[in-house]
Subunit: 346 residues, 2 copies
């Protein structure tokens, strides 16, 4: 196994085909600039030897590897599925292959991964990066970079219209008779978390909703599970969770504690991930156009790579949409601890 009988090079092919190495190189890198006769001989020889161009060697010279990188904050977070597929699709259309790296929610790991990935790709998309603006800009100086789900001044970005999304969630809650909403916060290093919280604070009063907050949770199902206790203590009638994973975990934790969703507490998530439709109850959530995120990010990256002219606005904002499912319901008439029924306000 892998006894390293070194793979054939253009020299081997050249010898067998009876041409110069540079002709072999051309035959592969710019067909058309080589005679039909030579091309045929080269390809025959290459086929016989099982020759494949070595993209790495090529890239030391040309910088082209045919790959772009995508670093996600956590590959196991379904929020990235759509993004990944979007990038893959757009990349494939342009003849590129996507290489993925997982930051595992760690800035440290993200940096290492980036360092290792960067030299082998023509550009990179940073999805939900946990790095500092400064770090991102440093990377953007070395290679084309597009940032997803975040705004970093001086770098091309693709984000969602958080304000509109939060607005429609709040309108929904207001229409259901709720008078307050509690934000279940995500990781402090998340830019999206900050933006969601800010939008909630800004918009809450406008919809007549009091805004509360429960501090940082790990944005996973178990994070939500763990947060259930604190939520029960504060006993809000509606919770807006940083993301769907957290919301799903929360609903489970609440359910295990005998607190019914949505009868006692309405829960809304963010992202509309895989699973949001088959959890119990199916989750009402602020959907982001995940796939479009991915493809738009790649398209922008591709323009950067080819040094094409760019839109004047470095930030591309995509629309969001509230998906109403079964985790939200009219405000309960009794408190969980047995308070008196209260009619809705005038």
């Amino acid at each position: 196994m892998s006894d390293a009988p070194r793979p054939p090079t253009i020299y081997d092919v050249a010898r067998l085909a009876g041409v110069a190495p540079s002709t072999v190189s051309r035959a592969f890198s710019r067909p058309g600039r080589v005679g039909a006769e030579s091309a045929a001989r080269v390809h025959a020889a290459a086929a016989e030897l099982g020759y494949r161009v070595n993209p790495l060697a090529r890239s030391t010279q040309s910088g082209r590897t045919g790959t772009v990188g995508l670093i996600v904050s956590d590959v196991t977070n379904p929020v990235h599925f759509g993004v990944i597929r979007g990038v893959e699709e757009a990349a494939a259309d342009a003849g590129y292959t996507l290489l993925l790296a997982d930051a595992q929610e760690s800035e440290q790991i993200e940096r290492t991964a980036l360092e290792r990935l960067l030299p082998g790709v023509e550009g990179v998309v940073l999805a939900s990066s946990r790095s500092s603006d400064r770090a991102v800009r440093t990377v953007a100086k070395q290679r084309p970079v597009v940032v997803l789900n975040r705004i970093v001044p001086g770098v091309r970005c693709v984000t969602a219209d958080t304000e509109a999304g939060v607005g429609s969630a709040l309108a929904h809650l207001r229409d259901l008779g709720h008078r307050a909403v509690t934000y279940l916060a995500g990781p402090p290093a998340s830019w999206a978390d900050g933006r969601r919280w800010r939008a909630l604070m800004d918009l809450g009063p406008r919809f007549g909703l009091k805004v509360g907050r429960i501090g940082s949770s790990v944005p996973t199902v178990s994070g939500g599970l763990a947060a259930a206790e604190e939520v029960r203590r504060q006993d809000p009638t509606a919770v807006l969770a940083y993301n769907d994973l957290l919301a799903i975990g929360l609903m489970r934790g609440l359910g295990e504690a005998g607190c019914r969703v949505p009868e006692q507490i309405s829960v809304i998530g963010f992202d509309n991930i895989f699973g949001a439709d088959f959890c119990t109850p199916p989750l009402t959530t602020v959907a982001a156009p995940l796939r479009a995120f991915g493809s738009e990010a790649f398209l922008e990256l591709h323009r950067l790579i080819r040094r094409e002219s760019l839109r004047p606005d470095p930030v591309l904002t995509l629309p969001t949409q509230l998906i109403v499912r079964a985790s939200t319901a009219p405000r309960r008439q009794h408190t969980a601890t047995g308070g008196r029924p209260r009619g809705p306000e005038a």
Copy 2:
């Protein structure tokens, strides 16, 4: 942004530090083989210039990139989460970074991805590969390769003890009074699908169970949803699905058609993925040690990379375990179409 003011090289550092380029190279690749004085000057100069070694250029020479690749048949399939984390963990311990590529269930895409990934990594783990044995062996000739969830003669492999898993699932069904089980097949190109089916055929009779089969489905939730119709037509009392995703989709499709799980049909999946515990009903499944799969695969790969001596058996088999949740129940006493009650057999 990225105006390509070419990054500094060892030559730039060497000039600034007043040493030879090779000294700079050594200072980074094998510190210790360089004088303290020189080392200090080199590092100072490097810091000033913002120099970073170029792993690609390095690898053309040494073959070392500090990365290993993992190709998964579908990154959005939660079955790979554990595997990914397992590889990441073991790789990080050994100082390696993991680069991921997604085959999107396509042999064609898998080949392209492999081609692009291979030159940049020191070795690669193929998880649930859809390629032919021949193709896998060809790759294994170029680079260290470990195959996961499959056996390819001539290549190092890590697999699960499918027979034991299927056996415990069948024992469970038998104990619940079932007399037959239908296999909901996965993709034909999946080696695991073949093995699961074969184990079922071999073992079914031994547990007194008649074995049926419903032909290939795409191994996703929607694939399971689509298969629900055919399952209803055949109306078995128990279904063993190729994987959890299919099982979850099936349960949903069945539920939407008014067929209750597990009262009317028991459903068992494979893998114990993320979501198997919070779907409705929670899924009984044959769990594989996903994380161990990943770490063992990396460990084996690492031995291959370092050309260490290997275990005599090229195949490492990890144990499986039946996780009983709520999707299985005693065999129904009435047929779905209203047949007469029948008592359990003597």
